[in-house]
């Protein structure tokens, strides 16, 4: 995985709240680490877990149709 970083701008007030949260909750080394963790979690949650290709999905639907499920 690439370790190259890019800057992102967020509101100062939010930054201060994050700083306070990270300091009080422990667990995270830095605000950056905390933000990366949270964003990763959100993205994983969003991404529909697709373990198959479009062709495989068609195959699945074909079987479901042939058995009367769809």
């Amino acid at each position: 995985m690439s370790e190259e970083k890019v800057p992102i701008y967020i509101k100062k007030e939010l930054y201060e709240r994050l700083k306070k949260h990270v300091k009080e909750s422990g667990g995270f080394e830095s605000i950056e680490e905390f933000v990366e963790f949270v964003l990763n979690e959100v993205l994983e949650e969003e991404e529909e877990e697709e373990v198959y290709s479009p062709e495989e999905e068609e195959e699945i639907k074909r079987r479901l149709r042939s058995l009367g499920y769809l």
Binding site: E49, V51, I60, L64, L70
Partner: protein
């Protein structure tokens, strides 16, 4: 959105066709290990992701963590050991690092990549999982009949164990596509190993009022003498669904699995399996996965308190019954009348009626369902 798989990723350890062919060509070169039906079903469930995140039979660290903490070493809830036992003679000819071919009924079912062979304490196994060491408990008896060692490691599925119910078998990848295609955002799973009476129907329909879809998922596997046969259960459900459920609200498909009769612990396991099929909710009724009087009637509901991070929402129900005063199927949450008005659903009573050729009353069982059962010359396991 339907439930994410347990541990975040649906496991797939079904060998792709090319590698499978290559392995089958040299199948005789593998060390051979015969396994029973329950272990063959476990291998199948691992491979198709029903047991996600498990990728194989448990190593000692996982096994002990499940016994003591009801969690995998990474803290993910897991209550039933998924283990493969071998006897001393077999242990002597297998080493960590070996690839072993698992055979069921003379069919090569899976390759086991052996990582560990370890001894275990049967009494501790039984006490932790079944809360008893009484050999009259079928799960305990099973543990004490197992070999001295456990053998752990990943599996790759080569062949499905023989399946007379292919037509009713959907894998988690398939149910997930199905639920999505039906537009279901919330799906409630129902575990069963019986023909449906009206108590079951009301349980399912009470849950269905609040969610988009119902996933009826009978367990097919080793049965006791006098149980209803698998084909009878499926036929009875087909008829019930056709006559009494909106076509768009319910799905019937099976899971092949050996019941452990571990009551509360097994209820958690049943919920995890249904989470992997894509369910967001799971019905837990009275004495779920229990046997005899080893567990309290609602103990299997109480255990869910210990797993706020399970990732599937249990729906708890008190037992349903027919109340003559209410003139309806109700439970103690909604009916104030005393026992003299109440007709309790009893599996035993229904079995006795059917055995003697009597049609159960319509307050007990839908006439179409009874009729479907009577189509079979002998609906019971011999």
């Amino acid at each position: 959105m339907i439930s994410r798989p347990h541990g975040g990723r649906l496991v797939n350890r079904v060998l792709a066709s090319k590698r499978r062919e290559r392995i089958l060509e040299e199948v005789d070169e593998f060390e051979r290990l015969n396994i029973d039906q329950g272990r063959a079903f476990d291998a199948e469930n691992i491979a198709y992701g029903v047991y996600s995140p498990l990728e194989g039979f448990m190593l000692e660290e996982e096994f002990l963590s499940v016994l003591d903490d009801m969690r995998l070493p990474n803290d993910l809830p897991w209550t039933i050991p998924i283990v493969l036992d071998i006897d001393e003679k077999t242990a002597a000819r297998i080493e960590p690092g070996d690839d072993v071919m698992l055979y069921y009924e003379d069919i090569p079912v899976a390759v086991l990549h052996v990582e560990e062979i370890y001894v275990y304490d049967k009494e501790r196994f039984a006490r932790c999982v079944f809360k008893t060491t009484d050999l009259a408990h079928p799960g305990v008896a099973k543990v004490f009949s197992m070999g001295k060692y456990l053998i752990g490691g990943r599996v790759d599925l080569i062949n499905d164990p023989p399946n007379p119910f292919e037509r009713y078998t959907l894998r988690p990848v398939e149910t997930r596509v199905l639920f999505r295609e039906r537009g279901w955002k919330t799906v409630v799973g129902f575990q069963t190993r019986n023909v449906p009476h009206l108590g079951h129907e009301y349980l399912q329909k009470s849950a269905l009022v609040f969610v988009d879809g119902l996933f009826i998922n009978p367990v097919i596997g080793r049965k006791k003498r006098g149980d209803f046969r698998d084909d009878v259960i499926l036929s009875a459900y087909e008829v019930l669904l056709r006559n009494y459920y909106p076509r768009e609200s319910a799905v019937l498909s099976i899971v092949r699995y050996e019941m452990r009769y571990a009551g509360p612990r097994e209820a958690i396991h049943h919920a995890i399996m249904r989470k992997n099929f894509g369910c967001t909710h799971f019905i837990v009724g009275r004495d779920h996965a229990g046997v005899g009087n080893y567990y309290g009637p609602y103990e299997a509901q109480e255990i869910f308190k210990e797993f706020p991070d399970l990732g599937i929402t249990p729906l708890f129900f008190r037992e349903f019954f027919y109340c003559r005063k209410c003139g309806a199927i109700v439970n103690e949450r909604v009916c104030p009348h005393d026992e003299s008005f109440r007709l309790r659903f009893s599996g035993t009573k229904i079995r006795e009626m059917i055995r003697s050729g009597k049609t159960p009353p319509p307050e007990f069982m839908r006439p179409e369902v009874a009729e479907a059962i009577f189509q079979f010359e002998n609906p019971f396991v011999e």
